[in-house]
């Protein structure tokens, strides 16, 4: 049995990796400056001394792909954890308003440290590196509010949970819009980034800012992923297994909020990735979170890189925010999930 599952895991892992490579290939070769695979490889390994190619690949396309992949992985993991802890297949950092809260905190941060961030000095670096921490505070605030509003008779009321999330998401969205208009009243585009999500202005500093978060928290959550399996049982059974239920849940949620904040600080709020990736991975490898969590991370990567490719090319030379591309693809899937959950006696 164990062996069979392992085989399944390897096989689905390989399939998704193949998709990821395909998405990266599509993303890196296309754009306003097309290039061949040969040229790309030669440039990547430093065999080519065409400055133009080097610039396009290392300064524009590669950071964007890396950020897309990191954000996708972070959201995929965070989504899996949130769905596991709340025992609700519709939980998603975007729908629960965590994205919006983190986004607002980051907009506030940018509002106060705007000049520092734009400067090229060490201070500017530090300012960018600090962004996820502020996002974390905002995300935490929203999470706390959600808990306060949906805590009924010692359990989380799932319907209240989602409604509160929607409400808080709208509220914090309005707040970020207000603050970013206060920064620059004429810049709607800048404000729109935080509400719909975009990674077109990717650069390496952002990658350095989010990478430690993704690695540390990703590893922590993966280590704890076995707990999520127990959380699918009734609370009392979990307690009788000797697991410190509330404490472990809190750690898991905090870590996933941290992941989401790191993602939001770079890309703005991208919804639906955290929703879809865990579902796809569960379909591929089943309900065991030890396997479905890493697959969910990979699926998130594929989704986001692919959606970014679509966002970049479909209306070229105009760019679509990747968050919009994700939601156009994600909504039908969400509705399908909702319909299926309802038919299944939910």
């Amino acid at each position: 049995m164990q062996h069979k599952l392992g085989l399944k895991l390897v096989r689905s892992g390989l399939i998704i990796l193949a998709f990821l490579l395909l998405a990266i290939y599509l993303h890196i070769t296309s754009g306003s400056y097309t290039m061949t695979l040969r040229e790309i490889f030669r440039t990547l390994f430093g065999l080519n001394d065409d400055r133009k190619l080097e610039l396009v690949i290392f300064q524009f396309r590669l950071p964007r792909i890396v950020i897309g992949a990191l954000v996708g992985a972070g959201l995929g993991i965070a989504g899996a954890v949130m769905q596991g802890v709340t025992r609700n297949g519709l939980a998603d950092p975007g729908i629960l308003g965590i994205n919006a809260g983190a986004g607002t905190a980051i907009v506030v941060y940018i509002f106060f440290f705007q000049e520092m961030i734009q400067s090229e000095s060490i201070g500017g670096w530090l300012a960018v590196l600090m962004m996820p921490i502020f996002g974390f505070i905002g995300g935490l605030l929203v999470a706390l509010l959600i808990f306060v509003f949906s805590w009924r008779q010692d359990t989380l009321d799932m319907q209240r949970l989602i409604l509160t999330g929607i409400a808080l998401g709208t509220g914090f969205g309005a707040l970020s819009l207000y603050i970013s208009l206060k920064m620059n009243a004429n810049d709607f585009e800048m404000a729109a980034v935080w509400t719909s999500g975009s990674i077109y202005n990717a650069n390496w500093i952002y990658i350095y800012a989010m990478l430690p978060w993704i690695i540390c928290l990703g590893a922590l959550l993966y280590r704890k992923s076995y707990l999520l399996n127990y959380f699918q049982l009734h609370d009392n059974s979990v307690r009788s297994l000797g697991i410190r239920n509330e404490k472990e849940k809190a750690i898991l949620l905090l870590a996933s909020i941290g992941l989401v904040s790191a993602c939001v600080s770079v890309s703005g709020g991208i919804a639906f990735v955290g929703l879809i990736a865990p579902h796809i991975s569960r379909r591929l490898v089943g309900n065991d979170y030890r396997y479905s969590m890493p697959i969910s991370a990979l699926t998130g990567m594929v989704l986001l890189v692919f959606c970014d490719y679509i966002a970049k090319t479909v209306f070229a030379p105009a760019e679509l925010a990747v968050g919009i591309a994700v939601s156009i693809i994600g909504v039908p899937y969400f509705l399908y999930l909702l319909a299926r959950a309802n038919r299944g006696g939910g």
């Binding site: 509003f149 989602i162 709208t170 207000y178 709607f188 919009i324 591309a325 156009i328 319909a339």
Partner: protein, 338 residues
């Protein structure tokens, strides 16, 4: 006794409506980036001078804006009240149910495919869009078991709304009219088209008449559909007329000023709290309170980030979100029976 008191309050609201309306319009006209002395109004009415800057601002910018806020607030509040009544869902409202988004999507398409459309056509398109948005959301919801329950409907509405506005944003950025379209989205009240305002009045009256025509039945429907059918109500026709009214009112509102959230949600609740559940009184009172609410929100939106204007949707969200949270806190996933 309680009932009588509420009835009296309702009539009070209705009879003082012209007065309150005039008062908020006055406030809205006088306050802004450029303050107007009170006697300007007198001058504008009795000896209007086209070369006087103050007179021009007052007549061509402030007044249409105040009237538009009043009308749109009333329209959205009526639409929200009817939707809450016929779906027996305390979260039903034009913004949450995707009606606004459908309307905005079709307007975007119009701006892209047929720029320079006349006011008439704009409003018709907007109504068609409202109908499409409402149709998709309610169609999908009624396919699901339990789909019309508050939470399900709110989730479906929000998600489909995201989808529709995603499409709108995609079209807008493809045809590079983002700038124009974001004006629709963010509901900036400046630049209300006077011509469109004139068209909105008869349409609003049609919507109100339709709403009032079914108001008695909606009161019964709010008790439960089986109950209503048992009492001899033709529920299908009532729903149809109600939807027509909602589409008419919301479509016109979006065509006038864009998407404004939370008015249609919050105002009917406040009104129901004040005057009770008789929709014959609830609908007109919601209209009055909604108009006043939006007009005052508009005044606030000019001040919180002066001299720049804040989108009015931000102001209504600041008021509406805590209220929304309060409703969820109170009622959770239950249907309400009144």
């Amino acid at each position: 006794m309680q009932h009588q008191k509420k009835n009296r309050l309702a009539w009070l609201v209705l009879f003082t409506a012209p007065l309150t309306g005039a008062l908020v319009v006055l406030i809205s006209v006088l306050y802004g980036v450029k303050e107007m002395p009170l006697h300007t109004i007198w001058d504008v009415i009795f000896h209007y001078n086209a070369t006087n800057v103050n007179h021009t601002i007052l007549l061509s910018a402030r007044l249409p804006r105040a009237l538009a806020a009043l009308l749109v607030g009333a329209f959205l509040a009526i639409a929200g009240a009817i939707m809450q009544g016929i779906t027996r869902n305390y979260l039903a409202s034009p913004s949450i149910m995707g009606v606004n988004d459908g309307s905005a999507l079709v307007i975007t398409l119009c701006m892209v495919l047929a720029p320079g459309l006349s006011g008439h056509m704009m409003i018709i398109c907007s109504m068609a869009g409202s109908a499409v948005g409402a149709g998709i959301v309610f169609g999908f919801a009624s396919l699901l078991r339990n789909g019309l329950a508050p939470v399900q409907l709110a989730i479906i509405g929000t998600v489909i709304g995201t989808f529709l506005s995603g499409f709108a944003a995609a079209f807008a950025s493809y045809y590079q009219v983002s700038q124009n379209v974001s004006i629709w989205y963010n509901a900036r009240m400046d630049g209300v088209d006077v011509h469109m305002l004139k068209l909105a009045v008869p349409l609003g009256i049609i919507g109100l008449v339709l709403a009032m025509a079914v108001s008695k039945s909606v009161t019964v429907m709010a008790l439960g559909e089986e109950m209503a059918a048992g009492l001899g109500q033709k529920t299908f026709y009532i729903k149809l007329i109600s939807m027509l009214s909602v589409v008419c009112l919301t479509g016109t509102a979006v065509a006038l000023v864009g998407k404004i959230a939370f008015v249609g949600l919050v105002v009917p609740h406040i009104t129901r709290f004040l005057i009770g559940v008789d929709y014959r009184l609830l609908i007109p009172c919601s209209a009055v309170i909604g108009g006043v609410f939006l007009c005052l929100s508009d005044v606030v939106s000019r001040f919180i980030n002066a001299p720049f204007e804040t989108p009015i949707g931000v102001v209504t969200a600041f008021i509406g979100v805590p209220f929304f949270l309060y409703l969820i806190w109170q009622k959770g996933g239950k249907k309400y029976a009144a």
